[in-house]
């Protein structure tokens, strides 16, 4: 069920009114039922998988509490919980990939095995809720929080419908306490939720889906286009991806706020980053902090004696996994390795860059840092978007050889109905200008009530008139 669909609209109205009229103590029942229904909408059988995850993670959490730090049994129950979640993730998401690699290797040695790669349909949202459950188990194991005793709240924590399909990945320490203190109906929450939702909807239907038409055309015909057009496609894709995913996040945060729940923020203007380290603090924050806390730091400390190399080791492993998390494809591995390389470079040059910074004019330094970082981001996104590595390398090769071909660029724009293309760019500019302004204004609700009201109304009209309607999935649903 897409947030930007009539089905969801009706679903939400029913859920919200049932939530209002039911007694506060039992509101979680409404939300849990709604969440399971929402998750099962497209493919009901996968609810079984979700319930399995919930029950095993819940049970192991309670068991882990019974044993002291370092006790073998505590570890066994941690492994049970993580094993279940990772097992589900590996079977449904990566088995096809691994069997394919194996079949390629066996093919290499000319073993004539009839080994056909296994392909299962990926249950939607699986990468998100399994990571969220693993985070919870580790929190309990490390003693960051006690296990959750209330099965209902716990089930809701894993399956809460605004966030189950594409995050933000919630933390047990932030989300679970909120379920224990159910918020009551408030107009302020509704106002905030509505404004945030409208903003996300604008990003999705006016920006992302409109850009998708151009991006799909360019990335679908890489061989036919010159480097200059491919650069355009890559830049538009960056904005499409950002608008699509952060738009989804805004809608998720808005919907949760209707019920009084605060989900964590996922983006903080990533494209203004002046280095890659900063980029990862601004891009998909709930994933990058998850990886930092549950993967990077443990890896780093497990090889503490290696000093700097421990960090390098942890960095690469974390980012290869980060790449693979997005999908079982070599392109994502390359995406991860590139990020790891950039971060390692930044780590080694940290002191040196401080010295440069002091020597060079600060505007120039900042500007060139931004250009370099954004260019790197664009190049790495090529691997994010391209169908396969061959496509990605062909595209990059063209990007760096025929980037000056302005005639090809002009022809592309004319073919894309020049005036409509320029109109789309104007909308993208509007998005860039409003991005920071809207988010800042929305965080000061009380001061700006009338501004926000009018701005949201204007956005609604823009959505109605300039939106791209029809079913277009969110990009992050595939991860």
């Amino acid at each position: 069920m897409l947030f930007n669909s009539l089905t969801f609209f009706l679903f939400f109205i029913v859920v919200f009114f049932s939530w209002i009229v039911s007694p506060i103590r039992y509101r979680w029942v409404i939300l849990l039922a709604a969440s399971l229904f929402f998750y099962g909408w497209e493919k009901p059988v996968y609810v079984i998988l979700l319930i399995l995850t919930i029950l095993i993670t819940y049970y192991s959490g309670i068991k882990m509490d019974l044993f002291k730090k370092g006790h073998v049994k505590k570890k066994i129950f941690l492994y049970l919980a993580i094993g279940t979640n990772l097992g589900i993730l590996i079977i449904f998401k990566y088995l096809g990939f691994f069997t394919e690699i194996i079949s390629q290797i066996t093919g290499l040695f000319a073993f004539n095995t009839q080994f056909s790669p296994l392909k299962l349909i990926l249950p939607i949202g699986i990468s998100f809720y399994t990571f969220q459950s693993i985070g919870y188990s580790l929190d309990v194991y490390y003693g960051v929080r006690k296990s959750e005793k209330h099965l209902g709240y716990f089930a809701l924590f894993v399956s809460f419908f605004p966030q189950i399909l594409a995050g933000p990945i919630g933390r047990s320490t932030e989300l679970l306490p909120q379920f224990h203190n159910p918020a009551v109906f408030s107009w302020t929450n509704i106002g905030y939720g509505l404004q945030r939702f409208i903003w996300g909807l604008f990003k999705k239907v006016v920006i992302a889906d409109r850009l998708a038409v151009y991006v799909n055309d360019i990335y679908g015909n890489i061989a036919d286009y010159q480097g200059s057009v491919l650069w355009l496609g890559t830049i538009l894709y960056a904005f499409q991806l950002y608008a699509d995913f952060s738009g989804y996040t805004d809608m998720a945060i808005g919907i949760a706020r209707f019920f009084g729940y605060k989900l964590s923020e996922n983006f903080n203007f990533p494209f203004i980053s002046k280095n890659v380290t900063e980029f990862w603090r601004r891009w998909h924050i709930s994933l990058s902090t998850w990886l930092r806390d549950y993967l990077f730091v443990p890896l780093q400390f497990s090889k503490k004696k290696w000093k700097k190399w421990a960090t390098i080791y942890a960095l690469f492993l974390t980012f290869v996994i980060c790449g693979l998390w997005h999908g079982a494809k070599f392109t994502f591995v390359i995406f991860g390795v590139l990020q790891g390389l950039a971060l390692a470079y930044e780590m080694f040059t940290r002191d040196q860059r401080q010295i440069w910074r002091k020597k060079i004019n600060s505007y120039f330094y900042n500007f060139s840092s931004w250009v370099l970082t954004f260019t790197f981001t664009l190049v790495s996104f090529v691997f994010f978007r391209a169908e396969n590595t061959a496509d990605a390398f062909m595209l990059l090769q063209k990007q760096f050889t025929s980037f000056y071909d302005m005639k090809a660029l002009k022809n592309f724009i004319i073919a894309a109905e020049g005036s409509r293309f320029i109109f789309s760019l104007i909308l993208v500019c509007l998005f860039i200008v409003l991005d920071k302004f809207f988010v800042n204004t929305i965080h000061q609700q009380n001061k700006n009530q009338y501004t926000l009201n009018i701005l949201s109304s204007v956005l609604i009209v823009i959505i109605l008139l300039f939106g791209t309607f029809g079913k277009v999935d969110f990009i992050y649903f595939q991860f």
């Binding site: 380290t277 730091v297 780093q300 400390f301 421990a310 960090t311 960095l315 971060l343 780590m347 002191d351």
Partner: protein
């Protein structure tokens, strides 16, 4: 306790190469420019050396601010005696 605090300030100044850094129990990574997950390891190793204690991955997990780190140091020192 105050002694530990003083010592830790020195560690911070050394690791982050900034002599003006001051810390309080509620200081977090967000308050200090250079303090991120990459320099975190340097900080912890320097702390280990300064106080002659050992901090493992388990201990690091719960750390949210300088106060938590001071408590951890205190606990480790007590465990040694």
């Amino acid at each position: 306790m105050d002694n530990n605090h003083e010592k830790l300030v020195q560690v911070f100044r050394e690791v982050f190469k900034n002599d003006t850094i001051t810390i309080s129990p509620i200081t977090t990574a967000a308050d200090i420019d250079q303090w991120d997950s990459i320099t975190h390891l340097d900080l912890i190793t320097a702390t280990e050396e300064a106080f002659n204690i050992e901090i493992n991955g388990f201990d690091v997990m719960g750390l949210k601010n300088v106060g938590d780190l001071l408590n951890l140091i205190q606990r480790k020192l007590e465990e040694q005696n």
